[in-house]
Symmetry: none
Subunit: 205 residues, 4 copies
DNA sequence: GATGAATGAGACTTCATTCAT
DNA sequence: CATGAATGAAGTCTCATTCAT
């Protein structure tokens, strides 16, 4: 089984390298050669593990999405109030992206330009996250914590607002610390769904 | 002046073609040949008028941005209330994109994937539009129509929410009619800045 | 000896697989992977038994040639008249190829395109078969059954005529049944060497 | 129009180079790079004129076929007797191949190994030439010059015999001079269709 | 000004072969 | 003996850009 382990390790190594290079140079400017070099493999080795460049990108995207999702779930689990859960999810995303700029670039920038082939997957990722938020907003509505708003749209709007803030940070470098962007954004989001203004118990993390 | 006019006409024709092809195939999948063919010119002709593919894309983007800005300004001019002005600007963007899907694709999708070279310009465009909204939000705050929120962030959040809705429409086709997305979004945005709920006087157009 | 037997069995299995794949996909389109898969072995296994792809093809060719030769010898043995022997040899080849289309493809098509490395072997195979025919034509000349023709050329011409018929069948599918091609061909060949026209006693087999 | 001429010249130059390299190295061993180098062009230049390697090979084959056909037609035109016409056609092919070994290699060897994609064209070429011979054999039958044989098969057999002789010369180098192979072959072919033995008036040419 | 042939760097991918396990 | 991961050279093809006409 040691062989399988080594292969798996190589698989991951390639994914790591790909994440790094895609994040650094962008999808189209990244060559399979670059990935091979960064992962200390040969080009053929890369193609042994993945059928092509697109597949690598997709795999990177998926792995990152799983990671991000785990962070969000974890953050959600540590809260009880529905609104706080949604809030925590947003903050988890923002914090994770703040720590892994590459990931943010991949999700919010590169994946779009990578070509039409990825659009479906992007939609899927956005939907998944939007639904996560919607779920808790629905609960909040049910519990009377917020007004009976269109949670679908609200979730999308929240996600969009977050994305814009992160994208702006990515492309322009403002604000210096991405985490600083959430404090002023939060009350806006809360008010948008009629949530009673409270002090957030969630800390950036 | 006839010479110059002909040159100008050709210039525009190439830009039209480029907008069409970029919107249809995406930035990287578009070849200069495609643009030449669509504009009934030769490749050399395209290179006479533009220094390269990037420059064409930038020119298309700029022209489109001017057009979009004009639409927004026009919409703003027809309103008097600051909030209504900001509201109208958003709706103008959405309506324009709804009518020119290609434009939306260019602004929100292709420009990102086109490469790092365009990031600066994207930031510029986002900033320009965000500032437009911020301006009127500031007025609204000054006039006491809305709470003294961080208008910078609010404007960005509004823009982000709008973008997400449009992007989603672009990539997934939902909702069928993009205009239908604004009705449920509007109250959220209004509430986010503490605007007194009113019936919008602005009609999609 | 069991070890050796198993090895031998594997050897044959690979050869069978190779024959099948080469015949199906052609030499260059066949990958060593294909052969490994078809023979239920691993690539390494194949390379244990054979030094390389060329060697496999050569081995397949040789084994097939031996088989074909055996069929021809058998057919020859069942005849007494020299002309009938040559005649029988041709028919045996044709019949065998009719039943094993793959073999025909290998011999008459793939072996040529496989590369210069195989040319010598092809010549050898053609010579071997031509000589077989020549031998009996020589006897026929000696016995006065046919005119004192240049048997070397006659043998080659016979072989060539047969090849063309078979190749045509391979590439175009005409005639439907390859065996049907021999009946009209036979009298031509016979007349070409001045053989007294007789009813063939040989039956396609 | 000078530009068109230059382009046409380049087109031909590439075809010349391709013929040379394909003939020298074989289809699969030939790289587009080789053709580019031999034609003193760039790789891109080759791809400007031809869509791909296969297309180049096909074009070479077609051009060569036209040339060969012209030679045959010319030879046929200079004879009056039907049998002599068919005879002349064969000899023309043989002579042309003798002078252009590369052509022979292309037609009889490389075209087969080039892959399934070419099979149809090969059949077409074989059929074209076979029909040419059949035409004149039919006339010979009609005029009573030869027996009422199956001219279709006879033509194919003649062609096959010729091919084998040429192929053998190509692969083994025997006989030294290909033209020497026709003298002993001719009477065989004639006898095969029951043609009254005569002295050929056709000279190798 | 316009044309389109030509360039050439570089992209992705394949695959025969090797070799550590 | 067998496995299959890994190698790397080589292949086909694309395309932004240049430039002679």
């Amino acid at each position: 089984m040691q062989e399988q382990e080594r292969a798996q390790a190589r698989h991951e190594k390639i994914l790591d390298a790909a994440l790094s290079v895609f994040g650094r140079k962008g999808y189209s400017a990244t060559g399979v050669d670059d990935i091979a070099a960064e992962s200390a493999t040969s080009k053929g080795g890369v193609y042994f593990h993945f059928p092509g460049k697109q597949a690598i990108f997709l795999a990177v995207l998926d792995r990152a999405a799983r990671m991000l999702r785990a962070k969000a779930d974890e953050a959600i689990a540590s809260e009880t109030d529905p609104i706080a859960k949604a809030d925590a999810a947003l903050l988890a995303v923002l914090s994770t992206f703040a720590r892994h700029r590459t990931l943010a670039s991949l999700f919010l920038v590169e994946s779009l330009g990578a070509g039409r082939e990825f659009h479906q997957r992007i939609v899927q990722l956005h939907d998944e996250f939007t639904n996560l938020i919607k779920l808790h907003l629905d609960e909040a509505v049910a519990s009377g914590a917020i007004d009976p708003v269109d949670t679908e749209v609200a979730a999308r709007a929240w996600f969009g607002a977050l994305n814009e803030v992160i994208t702006s940070w990515l492309l322009s470098g403002r604000p210096k610390r991405l985490e600083d962007a959430y404090a002023p954004l939060r009350p806006l989001l809360m008010r948008s769904v009629g949530a009673r203004e409270r002090q957030s118990t969630v800390r950036p993390g």
